[in-house]
Amino acid sequence: MSENEASAAEGPGEAAEIRDASPTDTPDSSSPTAPDSLTDVAPTRKARRRPETITAAEVEETPKAEEQPAKTTSESTVSQGGWGYWGSWGKSILSTATATVATVGQGLTQVIEKAETSLGIPSPTEVSAQVEEEQKQQGSSPADDAGSEKDKAVGDGSSAVGSAMGMLSSLTSVVQSTGKTVITGGLDALEFIGKKTMDVIAEGDPGFKKTKGLMNRNATLSQVLREAKEREELQTAQTEMSESEKKVVAHYGMLFDEFQGLSHLEALEILSRESESKVKSVLTTLSGDKRVQLREELDHIKESFSLVEFDDEEVDEKKDEDGSEFDRDISEALEGLSVSATANKLSKACKNACSQITHMTQPEKEEEESEGDGNKAASVEEVHAAAIRSLAELTARSIELFHKLAETILFSSSSTDASLLSQLTVVLCKEISLLSKKFTSCLTTAGSNEKGDVLNPLITGVFLEASNSASYIQDAFQLLMPILEISHIQRRAESSEQ
């Protein structure tokens, strides 16, 4: 029983130590600049109105010269109607990654509505309409070079939007609490939306006291998510709602928990923490060259966790109508890793989402001419609820998959290639991005008769939760790093014994 005692004794000390190194750690250096810039910005914001008149068609007419890649510098954004204001401090806020998470389920609708009416930011309807436009373009143009065609569409459509996004594209790497650049290229739209919410937080929280508070606690991802869920539960319990309303209101955090996403995340965090402390203790027992050598080997593993590229532009909405491609990609990424049961759950969740989209899109197309809310056509609230639910399920299943992978890696003696895992992360994030695009265009169709102030918050909500979903998945991926490290050390020890 000596082993038991040893692990029990290890216990409490570990926890305290690791908490400091939790992935939500953020560089302190970035935050102090924020409050100053805030005072600059506040009056500007109040004066600015959302450019209601800009429609997708008008956006279309803007010069092709605007065809900048998403990586626009902040200088160029300054020239574009004052976006530079945001550029100057947006980054510093966003680098406090916890802010993203802090907004989960926090009366989002109001927050976003406020954002949209008070900020001079093109509405999500436009963004979303643009996506549809792209689709058409792509459909009509000969498929000689679909990729570049799409690039162009993005450039065209987003002269105003695009520059804002471009400015934000550099944020992807900071949005992840761990600071690793898993996804470098894309998710522009998602960030764009997330940024808006951030602004509103800034408005309601001058000096970012709350946000800083969050950071100081060094909360783990599961803690933050749990708190978000509890807030939602409280809201649900306190708000008197009719039954019909209850059905359509979707709470991401609560759904994520229902799909056991929180539990799996918590379990994964436990394994990650324990592995991390084991790695540390192994390193302290080594000395001299041996230590240097092991460090090098571990650095090699670490590299695989920071060099993943995900190009959002490759995400093609037309693709993968029924989720079968995702199924294939997943099985490919997981080949040789024995977690088929969990992978199947994930594929099923994805197929389910795809068939929901198909289901919600079809009757609407057939009855496009008929006025009013036919029974067959899904309401915007229903589409929104389905979207949030699908995102929550897919994310929970993704976390579950990472958790199962962690367990499998820990007890199997075979080596697991970190690049496989990063590939998997890319596949998952792409799927999240793809789904959010599909759902929002579905929303746009379903809400063609709705006013902007009904539709916009819903679309924004979907993009925001998709952005959060992608962050959670990437954070979960990062949790695997110490697990691969300790697995490597164990294999090393085994081979040297022989």
């Binding site: 029983m1 409490p12 509890e230 539960e233 319990a237 059905k247 539990s263 379990a267 367990e407």
Partner: protein, 215 residues
């Protein structure tokens, strides 16, 4: 998942431990789904289940960690014991070996959880009386000697399954009420949500149920 009640006031973390094939996952499935799962795949690492039940008039959410019984997972599953408020230690009444291993499971449970963790011993497959290999009496005695709650149950028929989870929950709740379980301790395995709307008022004279348990 519709109209789920979210107004529970406590969350208890449970773990289910015991040899492979004693029916841990089936007990959980019977408890959460009220169905018997005939072909249950081997659990890898840990799986989860949740259910809200009423304990002395309070809504309590049980978050159950169903661990893998296979020896090769043991190193991994030990990581999950910490912070459990309750532990279901399961053996199979038709296989003596699963009973014989209990002391090893108990050692793990004691070492890796806190002193207040409530452990309930469950003799599963009570429906298979004809193949019984472990008597009720000896198991009860083992439980008494080690200060465990004890029940024989059947995941197949559902007999005593609900009770098993409930008995442990009652004991945990009792420990909270008499102050022996400190909710502020990091590893208590209990989360209290004072802000949640309260259910029925707790009666000070509520009797701790004694039927079928060896306390």
């Amino acid at each position: 998942m519709t109209a789920a009640p979210y107004n529970y006031s406590y969350i208890f973390k449970y773990i289910i431990i015991g040899d492979m094939g004693v029916g841990k996952s089936c007990l959980l499935h019977q408890f959460t789904e009220k169905k018997f799962m005939a072909d249950c795949p081997h659990t890898i690492g840990v799986e989860f289940g949740t259910r809200i039940m009423e304990v002395h008039g309070q809504k309590v959410k049980l978050q159950i960690w169903d661990t893998a019984g296979q020896e090769r997972f043991r190193a991994v599953t030990r990581s999950y014991y910490r912070g459990a408020a309750g532990a279901l230690m399961v053996y199979d009444i038709t296989r003596r070996s699963t009973y014989n291993h209990l002391s090893s499971w108990l050692t793990d449970a004691r070492n890796l959880t806190n002193p207040n963790t409530v452990i309930i011993l469950i003799g599963n497959k009570a429906d298979l009386e004809a193949q019984r290999d472990v008597t009720y009496e000896e198991a009860k005695q083992f439980a008494e000697e080690n200060g465990l709650l004890f029940l024989e149950a059947s995941a197949k028929t559902g007999e005593n399954v609900e009770e098993a989870f409930l008995e442990a929950a009652k004991r945990i709740y009792q420990n909270i009420q008499d102050g022996s379980l400190d909710l502020n301790a990091a590893e208590s395995g209990v989360q209290h949500k004072p802000s949640a709307p309260q259910g029925g008022r707790l009666n000070a004279d509520s009797q701790p149920a004694k039927e079928g348990c060896s306390c």
